[in-house]
Every structure is written in structure tokens, then in C-alpha cells.
Amino acid sequence: MCYHMSSKDGRPAPATEFKASPAVVPITDVPPGARVRHFDELSDRTQHALATAAPSGRLDIDPATTRLSRGDVVVFTEYVRIQ
């Protein structure tokens, strides 16, 4: 398993990573192998998107600039997974 250092994670995900705006879904268990990020590791922009996520879970953020990748788990007021 390979975990990346945060500064590497600051690079934008490949444009093909997300076909639409990323969304978050609450989870109770962390899937094996998932990369886990704390809310404090995210950029201001991504924090804002997560804190104001629509009821659908959709993040109002440009997919090409997000620091998150599909499958990442974020520790916020609950654990959420990016998809």
C-alpha cells in the first residue's frame, strides 16, 4: 500500500479522475487501502466545498483543482468517502 505525502497530494487529480463534480457519502467503516485525510489537510477551497456540500453530497468545486481523489476518505464531523 502506498500513502502519499500531503504536499504531493496538493497536485490536482488527473482531469479524468472525476467526470463530474465530486460527491461525498457518509461511511462508518474505512475501506482497506483507502487514503484517509483529515479536514485540516484540505485546501481552504476544498474545506469550504465540504462544509457547504449540498444535501445530495455534491461538492461545489472544480474537479480539475480538487486535492481529493476518488475513494479518499475525509475525517470531518463524520467520515465521508469521495466518489
Binding site: M1, C2, Y3, H4, M5, S6, S7, K8, V30, P32, A34, R35, V36, H38, F39, D40, E41, D44, R45, Q47, H48, A51, T52, V73, V75, F76, T77, Y79
Partner: protein, 429 residues
Amino acid sequence: MREIAIHINPEYKPRVMSQSYVIVGDGIAGASAAETLREEEPDADITIITDEGEPLYNRILIKEFAKGKLPAAPISIHEESWYDDRDIDLVLNTLVTNIDPEGHTVTAHDGTEYEYDKLLLAIGGTPTQLPVENSDAEGIHHFWTFQDARDIKEHIEQADNSVVIGAGLLGIDLAAITAAQDVEGKYLMRGKAWWRYALSQDGAEIIHNALRERNVEPVFDSGVDHFEMDDDGVVTAAIDPNGDRYPADFVGIAIGLNFNTEIVEGTDIECDTGIHVDEYMRTNHDDIFAAGDITEFHDVILGERAQNGAWGSAKEQGTIAAKNMVDYGSEEFRWVSSYSITHFDFPFLSFGHPTLGDDSVEAKYSDTEWRRLAIKDGKIVGGVLIGDLSPQTKYKKLMREQVDVSGQLDTLVKQDFQLEDLEGAAAEQ
């Protein structure tokens, strides 16, 4: 006499022999510096020396591990192969005990000497011990390293009742760990509110209620006079200064950090509670830099020295330090830090320096929504948001750009505040 004309090519840059960089500390500041140095100088010799027994891990996730919510694997950030792949020498379990700035060497506890051209001190801090009777009893924990988290998790899973001491951002992690592990607890605080230097009673009460809902009872005007222990040296209770007794087989203490300045005390490297650095992370020695918790840095936004222990701040300081070790003056540290608490149903975020300032403004919007901004010389220098984090980017922008918000404090805490609501020069930002 013949005249000799010397032509100087302004584009000429002298070739420099490969530099030798030594980094003391493999936390996020040290590791981000090493990564940046390798990117900036592919041929440099880079050595990281750490007294810990494992490579970089995610310090802000270890509380989730101790709560029993997160397995150990995602906590690790670097395998040892990460260093090998980048030709970085990682020296574990090694405490640097001496620095010779003139000789450009550091010496480890085992006598090994390491030479450097440029040195980075990212040596962080150590939890402050509570100077009371029996504070070294078995079952009393401090919370700083991954190993601390492992010990806490192993113990709290067997515990029946707990006491937590330290009404700040680290103490509440310990309280949340006891709550998550379903261990009844008392949270002893010296004042009348949690984090009383940054929150008013209104704001703190939201946190108090959230703790009570999780079976952790805040106890105010309290603290610890001494601990009781059994014949085996295991803690059994905390006795507060009022004489009240709180039975506990688990005790967590988080009353602050002592910054690891011992190794510079025999040198003329300037330090106070931390090591003094300028906005480029350089000490008063040209070849010695510092980054992370250990620094008292010149905060260009605040206009005075400051310390900050947030993860993002430490990471940025490491990166900035590395850039200036390679090319001094190339980039200054200009940063608005933030720190969040994710233990409750509602979010909590502090930013900047919420305990400083000469004025403040606050507003409560509901039982779980509250804001306070700290103001200094008419400008935002920090704040705390509970419940609704959506204004944080606006407040941070105003702070970063040092916008004068004098006379408009009430506007700032309108529930749906927008930057356009500001008048005058502030509105032009």
C-alpha cells in the same frame, strides 16, 4: 602596464558543489522540507535525524486511531522506502544533543557527528508534565506521538472511568477519545469554560453541552492538586484543589507543550519559548533554519512574533524553509493557519490567532452555531467558527490582506455575511 578587461556575464551563476543538508526532526515540517530540498537540489546530500522509531505519520489522525474509529495503516504517511527512493538518509531512534554552529556539525546521543552545510531544526515539542504529586503514576497519559496513541487506545479500551485535564485543543481530543470509547469521564478545567482565551461563555457552552451528551462532564474551577494511586503505583483518582475526589483508572493530561529548545541553549542561536526565525525561517545563523512547532516566527500578517502548532502551518514552514535554504529570500512565510475539531455533530474551526487582539466581536445564531472574531488595530487576526464554517474563506481573506474593518464589526458577524457587505476601503478587497 597592460590593461586587462574583465567581462562579467550577468547570467553567469557559479557552480556549487553539492550541498549537504541535515534536518533534525521527521514530523511534517522536517519531511516537507526534505521533499522540497530534493526537488530543488537533485544532487544534494540530505539526512533526516529523528528520535522517534518510525517515519513520518499523520499526527492529526492519531486521535481517530485512539478513538477506535480508524485502523493504524492509514496513519502512516511514509514507508522507509519513501526515503530510499529519494536518496534521503533517514536516521531513526537518534536524539541530537548538541549543535556546533561554527563547526557546522550536530552530535547525536551516541556520539555520532553529522556535518552540514545547511541545518534545519524541526524538533517540535514535548508534552508539559503536570507538577503535582503522583503525576508519574501508571495509567496517566500524555498525548503527542503515535506511540502515545497506541498506549492510550490499549488502556482506554479496558478503563471504567476517566479524568481529563487541559482545557484546550489537545485536551478535548483526550475527552473525545474517552467518549468514543464509552468511558464515563470528568473533564477538569481551571476556569469556567473550555478554551477560555479564545471562546466566550456562549461559545464554550456549545462545546460543554456536546461533551455532556457524550457522557463527559466538564468540571469548572477545578484542576488537579494531586493523584492517588494504589500499592502497585496505578492511578486510582484525581483530587482537585477544592478537595473533591474523582475516581479514575485512566487519566489524560494535555496542558501544553514544552518546545525542545534544549539543544540550542548552549549556542548563541536566539530562542525564547521557541527558536527565533525571520519570515524566511532562518535563525540568526545564516546556515541554520527552523520550522514547525519549534519556531517563534516573524508573522508578517500579525506584525509580531508568533507560534503556531497547526499541521498546515508546519508543513508550509518546512517547504518555505527548504526554499530559503537553497536560495535565501526566495519566498517568505505568509500564512493564515486553521485548526478544526471534528469530534461532534457540528463543525468547529479556529483560524489565525484567536487568543490575541485588542478587540473582538461575536454572535450566537443557534444552540450549535456561534462565531467570534479577534481584532487587532482594526484588522482581523483570528477567529473561531462553530456550526457553520462557510464564512471562513472570507474571514481568512480579510485577515491575509490585512483589511481595515474598523467600525464594521457588526457587519462581519451577520449570519449570511458577504464581502460585498463591507463599506469603504474594505469593500474594495
